[in-house]
Every structure is written in C-alpha cells, then in structure tokens.
C-alpha cells in the first residue's frame, strides 16, 4: 500500500463542539435582554452595546497582534461576549470615552495580562465595570429612566435620569423611611420583572434574562448549579431578614428581580473561566455570591453588590477547584 495513513491515539472522532459554538450560544442567549433594553432605552442601548463590543474586540486584536505577537483569536467570540456583558452593566447614556476605558480595562487588564482566554482569574467584564464604577461614580449610577415609567419619586427628584430601585431603597432607609413606604414609590414587581425600572442596559429585563438562561440550559451551555444556588441563597438570606424585621428589610422577591442579580447569576457568574469546575464547587461558589451580595446590599455602603460578590468569589475559585472534587465512581454506592 502506497498511501499515507494517519496513525493517532483514540478517540478518533470528535463531537464538533467548539469554543465558538459555546460563545455564540451565550451571545444568542443575551439577545432577548438586548432587545428589551433597546425597546426601553432606544438608540442609547444600541450605541453603548456597539461601542463596547467593537472596542473589546479591537483591544483584544491589538494586544494579541502587536503586544503579545501571538495568534489572533478574536474569532472565538469571547471578546464579543465580554463586550456585550460590559455593555449590559453600563447605563445607556454613558459617554463613549468612558465605555472605551471600560473595554480597555476589561480586555487589557482583566483578560490579556493573565494570558488571554482561559487564564484570567476574574471576570473581565466585571473588572471593567467595577473599575468604571469606582472611577466615574456619578456617570455610572445615574441611569436614564425607561420610557413609560414615571413614579413621583423619580420624576420629582432626578428629572430625566434616576437611581435604581435598590438605590431608592437604600436612600429611603437611610432617611428612616420604612420599607413599605419606599415600595409605594416603586413600580409593581411585575413591571420591574419585565424591565420597567432604572438600571444598566442588561439588568432591567429580568424576564428576558430568564429566557436567556432557559436557552443556555437547554443547549447545555451552562448547568443549573450556579444561577440556581445564587438566586436561592439570596432568596433565603433576604427572606430571613425580612421575616425578622419587615420594616427594615425588603422582601426576597424584590431583591431577586432588581439590580443586577439575575444578570449576574445567569451571565456573569457562569463565565466558564472564572467559575468552579465541579457541581459541588459551583454550588459553594453560588451560595458565596448570594450571601456576599446580600451583605453588601443590606449592610454595605453600595446599594448593589452582585459585581463585587462575583469578583470576590472568583478569587476563591482556585481554592474551590483544589479541594472540591467530583464524586468518584465507586465511592458513593454501598455495594451489598
């Protein structure tokens, strides 16, 4: 036989799964939330998203090509995901140059300094977001109010832009207003869930985020462990506080549908690179995020705590991976 044939070890076939397929799956899952934010914020939402994606991809390209002199991997889609997630964390009236700085920090410091995709310990989009939050607190926390929402509280004080429901709650509590009175000022829970609240692009549309989660679960892009453990632990923790002192602590449902909790639980905490590898590890990580979020929201200085909670738990991931092992075959079942 004169033909050259390949000799390689098994397995000889592959599932065809690729990083691109997974990343584009995440992008598709974010589209419902993007559409909701375009519906509420109009052109601003489109502009912020596009600027963020284009600058994230460009920074990754420039760094890989000219600084690291390595293979350009922008086609894997991970920079697009980072760009979209960063945009989801920004208000729709943010000046373009602040977005550019956010993208540079996300990709440059959050991702490429550690060696690019797969090596970054912290979620790049959150690194960018928190950097902007600390550097530009005013621009980052005055959100345009979505069209069709008017509450006396918002329109009286802030005019066009307004704080998030969590911000209103925090402010109200600081002034000694009981929770039930603050709640009267806010839209109904149903309105909050479908997006009628002030907030960043991606956090306003709880329902759309949940649709994205169902899509990712069905396509096996993520597993239930991280989002469910975060949401449940927030529910339980705030539920206990609420039952103990209803005038001081808002009820659990309010905490789940407001702020970036759903965005964080579904899209940010589930980032492959920065989350644990085993189901048990994921649950520990999720519960950690839930508890830290509530601690920051209820007892901390910031009205919102999901971003910080995820970043803090990101730091624990190597430790979790080191000590939380999967259940080995032959370990669990008693054989009698």
């Amino acid at each position: 036989m004169n033909k050259l044939i390949t000799v390689a070890p098994s397995p000889h076939i592959h599932s065809g799964l690729s990083v691109q397929k997974l990343m584009y799956g995440v992008i598709i899952a974010m589209i419902p939330a993007l559409l909701v934010s375009i519906a509420f914020y109009g052109i601003g939402a489109i502009a912020v998203t596009l600027i963020s994606i284009v600058s994230c991809v460009s920074f990754e390209f420039l760094i890989q090509k000219f600084i690291l002199n390595s293979q350009v991997r922008i086609s894997d889609g991970s920079a697009i995901v980072t760009g979209m997630l960063l945009a989801f964390n920004l208000p729709s009236n943010l000046p373009w140059w602040i977005i550019l700085i956010g993208a540079m920090v996300s990709i440059g410091i959050g991702k490429m300094t550690f060696g690019g995709l797969g090596n970054n310990p912290f979620n790049p989009a959150l690194v960018g977001r928190v950097f902007l939050l600390l550097s530009f607190p005013v621009q980052m926390t005055s959100y345009p109010v979505p069209k069709g929402v008017s509450t006396p509280y918002i329109s009286n004080i802030e005019g066009f832009t307004g704080p998030t429901p969590l911000g209103i709650l925090k402010e109200g509590l600081k002034n000694g207003t009981p929770v039930s009175d603050v709640m009267k000022e806010l839209p109904s829970y149903l309105d909050l869930f479908i997006g009628k609240l002030g907030g960043s692009l991606g956090e306003i549309a709880g329902a759309a985020l949940v649709i994205g989660m169902i899509f990712m679960l069905l396509r096996k892009i993520i597993t239930w462990h991280i989002p469910v453990s975060i949401i449940l632990s927030v529910y339980v923790f705030t539920g206990i506080l609420h039952l103990a002192q209803p005038s001081q602590y808002a009820d659990p449902l309010f905490h789940i549908i407001t702020g970036g909790l759903l965005l964080g639980a579904i899209f940010m905490a589930t980032d492959y690179v920065t989350s644990p590898m085993t189901p048990a590890g994921m649950i520990i990580y999720g519960v950690g995020i839930g508890i830290i979020t509530v601690l920051i929201r209820v007892f901390g200085a910031y009205p919102e705590g999901v971003s910080f909670a995820i970043l803090i738990m990101n730091g624990f991931v190597p430790l979790i991976n080191r000590y939380i092992k999967p259940v080995r075959f032959g370990e669990e079942v008693s054989n009698g």
Binding site: L117, V327, R328
Partner: protein
C-alpha cells in the same frame, strides 16, 4: 424509563452502517499470520515448528503461565516459519505463519449443524474446556475467560452479566451475532452461568437494537434465571463498570474487579465462543468482524479466520476508498489506528473502521476555557482537564491522588472538549508513568 449508568457519558452519532448486513464467511487467504500475544497476559508458547503440518483447530501454541491463553491454527496447511510480524500494537511480535492448504478440520470438532442446548458438565470441566479452546474476552479486552471464571476463594459471582451493549459507533458484529445466533448464544450463556453457579443472569442491550432485544427475549423465555434488559443508548455503557452500574446499580470500587461486587461480565461474542467450545469442541479460531466506514462501498459483517490480513477484509467490503485517512482496529472511540493493511485479524478484533481524510484530522488544540464539560462526561468521576495538566507537568503524586489509574480510557473527555485538547493522550501518559511507580513500589 430505560436503565443506564448514572455518571457522565456521551452520545456520538451511531453510524451503524452495517446493522442490516448478514454474517458472510470471508474466504480463507493463502497465508495467515497468527500472533502469539493476542490476549491480555503472557504470550503463548509455540508447540509447532517450521515445516509442521497443522489442521484447522489444532493447538499451535500453549498458554504460558496463569494469565495466558492457548492458540489454535485457524486453517490447515504447513507452518512456514515462526517469526516476528507487525501487529495492531504497531510493534513486531512473535507469530506463527502458515501456508494454507485446504481447510481440513480436526476430527474432534463437531461439524453438525444441530444446536445442542443441554450441558451436564461440571463447573470444573466447563472451565477446562474453555481454557483448552483458548477463549478470551471478545469485546476487545481479550482477558482469558478461564481466569475470569475461576472466582477467587471467598468471593461469589452472584450475577452473570452479558454485554450485548455494543456502544461503540459503527460496530455491528455483536448485533449481527445476537440476531443470527440467538439459540447458540443463550446456550453459551447458560453454560457460563452453570460454570459460575450464578444465581441470576442479566443481558444488557442498548435500545438502538430492538430486533436483538426482541430475539433474545423470545429465546430467554425458556430459561427462568436469564433476563434481557434494554438500556438507554449512552457511551461507554459497554465498559464493565458502567454496565454493572446500569444493570444492578452497584459500583466496582477503585482498583477493584467486578467480582468484588458479586458479578462477572462476559461479552456476547465470548458467550458464543463458549457455546462452540463446550458443545462443539471447537476452539476459538474465527470470529465476527465488522468492516465499515462512510466511504466504504459495502460495509459488512464477516466471519473471519484469526490471522487473516486486514486488507482481505477491506477488499471484500469493496476495497480501500480513495479518500482513506485512517484505518482503525476497533471502533472510533477506543480502537487503535493501524499503520499497515497486512496486520492480522486477532481474537480481539471486533471491527475494522475506515475513516476518510476529513474525519481523520484532529483540529488544533486551543487553550482550556474551563468549561468543565470533560468532568461532566467522565463516567469515572475524574477531572480530565486537571489530569492532563498534572501529566504535562509530571506531577505524579497528585496524579495518583486524583485517581488517574481509575481512567478507563473511554475518550469521552477528548471527544467533548470544545478546545480540541488531547486530554486522553496526556492522561494515558500519566497512567503509564504512575503505573510504573506503583509497580516499583510493590517490589
């Protein structure tokens, strides 16, 4: 809901191209090459010399030591030489090479076509006959069957499990056997059960073979201790440990054997060989082999004499396709790519798979994105991504602690990895190094 094993697993495209094909006899080639080391354990010791005349079924090499197996001539003719020849491992090993002259079978072999379904032999006699016939596990592991049947003192094989899963994509030899040789198969199974004094016998078949399930259920009706179980299609269900888990929900402990949980597992092909050996005095010198591949013009199931060169099988299935990229001895998940077409069909050859150029090429490996898919598909509950890194960095103590030796090399991790990382390649390297360390420690 159909039964299956609990942890991990994947479902590759089944591609059972030759599922509807009957079993045809492959013509005997002019020269056959029978390797002496085609079973797990020590190679057999040749008892023939150059120039000796042999008959079909005659013993030509004797099992050598505790774990070894007899080897018989698969043809009649004259021994040309005993020499080294290339085998599926990619290395040259001692083989008996025979010039074929007709097909004269040993007189002791019962050539009648009737099915003989009663066996009154004692357990010891059955095991002796199986030992004499050189039967090894035909699912691919080629472990000598008489050793498996000799249950160690203090242990009991309560369950006999028969593996008709055939979870490897493409392969159909067991399927074809279950359809055409059901009666003989069930007799073989009842003989194995008798030898083990098993209380219950369970046959596991994946439900992509409903005709085989129906056929065996019909025949199993007359035995009150044999039951046929349909299993959900999931790879690697044909792995011993996974099959035991799926059928009786017991887990063989790390480093243990099936008998530790009261079971012994045999492949359907082995059970059929047991029938022929015990009831017909026929040693193991032929087997059923699937020859398959998308570019092949006639995917087929053949009954092949051991020692037939692979190229004869490929010729009979329509010839080697133009776009051949890889020839695999076995299935696509665990088979071995072979480097030449003149290597022989051996006792463990369940199929010859031809992949085209496109299918043969691996995509370049990319950085791990820590998606944890490898963990979720690992049927042994291991962390392939970590084992690969530990193996790359030669961290053998941690490899051992993280149970690298539990890996059954099913390949699900490499199959699923979105970054096309060669996970199993490195895990094998790690297993080999850790295995050496463990052996040295025992000395």
């Amino acid at each position: 809901m159909l039964k299956t094993f609990a942890k991990g697993g994947v479902h590759p495209s089944e591609n059972k191209l030759s599922a509807a094909e009957p079993i045809n006899d492959l013509p005997i080639p002019p020269v056959i090459t029978i390797p002496l080391g085609m079973h797990l354990g020590v190679a057999a010791k040749p008892i023939v010399q150059k120039g000796d005349e042999v008959k079909t079924g005659q013993l030509i090499a004797q099992g050598n030591g505790l774990v070894s197996a007899n080897i018989h001539s698969s043809v009649s003719g004259k021994v040309l030489k005993i020499d080294k020849a290339l085998d599926a491992s990619g290395y040259k090993h001692d083989s008996v090479i025979i010039q074929v002259d007709g097909d004269e079978w040993l007189e002791t072999i019962d050539l009648s076509k009737e099915i003989s379904d009663t066996c009154t032999l004692s357990s010891k006699d059955i095991i002796q006959k199986i030992n004499d016939a050189g039967i090894v596990g035909l699912g691919g592991a080629t472990f000598p069957s008489h050793v498996k049947l000799s249950v160690p003192r203090g242990k009991k094989a309560k369950y006999l499990i028969i593996n008709g899963v055939e979870c490897e994509p493409y392969l159909t030899s067991d399927h074809a056997l279950m359809l055409s040789k059901g009666e003989e198969l069930l007799t073989g199974i009842s003989i194995l059960s008798r030898a083990l004094r098993a209380e219950k016998t369970l046959i596991g078949i994946e439900d992509n073979k409903p005709d085989a399930i129906e056929n065996l259920r019909k025949i199993a009706g007359k035995y009150n201790d044999i039951s046929v179980h349909a299993l959900k299609v999931k790879y690697p269900q044909g792995g011993e440990k996974q099959l035991i888990k799926a059928l009786i929900n017991r887990e063989v402990p790390s480093g243990g054997l099936p008998v530790d949980v009261g079971t012994v597992v045999f492949n359907v092909g082995t059970a059929f060989a047991v029938y022929e050996a015990v009831q017909k005095n026929k040693p193991l010198f032929e087997r059923i082999v699937t020859v398959t591949g998308k570019s092949l013009s006639k995917p087929s199931n053949f009954r092949v004499r051991i020692g037939t060169p692979v190229k004869d099988l490929i010729e009979a299935a329509g010839g080697l396709p133009e776009d051949t990229g890889k020839i695999i001895n076995g299935g696509p998940m665990m088979g071995k790519a072979i480097s030449a077409m003149d290597i022989s069909v051996v006792k463990g050859t369940s199929g010859i798979l031809i992949l085209n150029k496109n299918e043969s090429r691996r995509k370049p490996s990319e950085p791990c994105i820590r998606c944890s898919k490898c963990i979720s598909v690992c049927p042994m509950g291991l962390e392939p991504y970590l084992l690969m890194t530990l193996s790359e960095k030669s961290l053998h103590e941690r490899l051992e602690r993280d149970k690298v030796m539990d890996c059954n090399e099913c390949g699900s991790c490499s199959y699923i990895c979105p970054s096309n990382r060669p996970l199993l390649d490195y895990i094998r390297l790690g297993k080999s190094n850790v295995g050496k360390i463990i052996r040295m420690r025992k000395k």
